[in-house]
């Protein structure tokens, strides 16, 4: 009896490697230049500022979707959040620290709309070196980060729309879907 030895070269699969613990760092310069290139690439493929915002937000969402998996695998103690306030606090502290090495500056609830919350960051790293030209109006490239937040919230079962605005530095406006608010109210009633 003869044994046929497979000619296939054994590939080391990514699954064989242990997941890094997320302590690696690259320089801000390096990240800023990559981000700049990303913005330029998007800009070259769109015609208007809103299109550019959407494109940046989409790219951010792509990052957010992957990032949440990493975060949950790593933070074994993580338990599923079910309350709006808790998920927002999670974003403000845990997510922010993992992404940017610090908590977000502020979390506020809109006075006039119960669905709307604000996460405020005076000096977001993606905007650190960016001066938006006048012809780009209110463009805020941190809409990329807004995309990350949106993807994370959606991935955690809190569908929302997140946008970025020039206010107190940058303010991320989080607008939850009605169903999320209703669910939260039910929880409170119980």
């Amino acid at each position: 009896m003869s044994i046929t030895i497979s000619a296939v070269r054994p590939r080391t699969s990514i699954l064989d490697k242990s997941l890094s613990r997320g302590r690696g760092e690259v320089s801000l310069s390096c990240y800023a230049l990559l981000f700049s290139e990303l913005v330029q690439y998007c800009q070259n493929r769109v015609y208007t500022v809103p299109e550019l915002q959407n494109k940046l937000a989409e790219m951010g969402q792509e990052v957010g979707v992957k990032f949440i998996d990493l975060l949950f695998v790593r933070e074994r103690s993580y338990k599923r959040e079910i309350k709006i306030l808790n998920i927002l606090l999670f974003v403000k502290s845990t997510l922010w620290k993992a992404l940017f090495g610090k908590e977000a500056d502020k979390l506020e609830h809109a006075n006039d709309d119960e669905r709307t919350y604000y996460i405020i960051e005076k000096d977001p790293i993606v905007n650190k070196f960016i001066s938006v030209p006048k012809d780009k109006g209110s463009l805020n490239c941190a809409v990329f980060t807004a995309g990350i937040i949106e993807a994370v919230l959606n991935g955690c079962g809190f569908p929302a729309k997140v946008t970025a605005h020039w206010h107190k530095g940058t303010t991320y406006m989080v607008k939850f879907e009605d169903s999320v608010i209703a669910r939260d109210k039910q929880l409170e009633d119980r």
Binding site: E25, V26, S27, S29, Y31, R45, E62, V63, A98, L99
Partner: protein, 178 residues
């Protein structure tokens, strides 16, 4: 330079944010271009754009002088990887003429979490790096070319970036230099 190194301890960014941002860019390119070769080219071009800017950051912060020897260049490139990506590749496999060397990486922040799907095995995922080297060296009037000789993403045990000296761009050397 007297102030060498004083400004290297600038702020850092979580490498995962970097990896995933790069990943988002690559996957966007994969959507926008049908041909993998075009994606490779586009990545190289983006790297070039980054390189011609990154070099100024390197020079401004390190106060580094001009290279008069390719071994010197190799050391500076290695230093650049350490400063910007937080990894120190090994310089190895010098050609006998001293005009070619390899950078060996045990880890590469660009490719962490990456496994190439079977349909895009020809994708040079980290091709941006070859562009960065070309752009950065061109700005200091040196033409180099580089390519991945081995790639962990393709099943090799290490990632090896081969760098070759082509020529000095004498015409581009600014007046008052040499």
């Amino acid at each position: 330079m007297s102030r060498q190194g004083t400004r290297l301890d600038t702020k850092n960014v979580n490498s995962e944010l970097f990896t995933l941002t790069y990943g988002a860019l690559v996957s966007q390119l994969m959507k926008d271009y049908t041909n993998v070769e075009d994606v490779n080219k586009q990545l190289e071009r983006m790297g070039y754009n980054i390189g011609i800017r990154l070099i100024e950051d390197f020079l401004a912060r390190t106060g580094s002088g001009r290279c008069y020897d390719f071994r010197d260049t190799a050391d500076k490139i290695q230093m650049g990887f350490r400063i910007f990506l937080g990894v120190t590749p090994t310089i190895t496999n010098w050609s006998s003429a001293g005009d070619e060397f390899s950078l060996q990486f045990e880890s590469n922040p660009l490719t962490e979490f990456i496994e190439l799907p079977d349909h895009c095995l020809n994708l040079k995922y980290a091709n941006v790096l070859t562009g960065v080297l070309r752009g950065a060296c061109e700005m200091v009037q040196m033409e180099v070319t580089s390519w991945f000789a081995q790639d962990q993403l393709k099943g090799d045990t290490v990632t090896e970036l081969r760098v070759k000296f082509v020529k000095r761009l004498e015409d581009a050397i600014p007046a008052g230099e040499d």
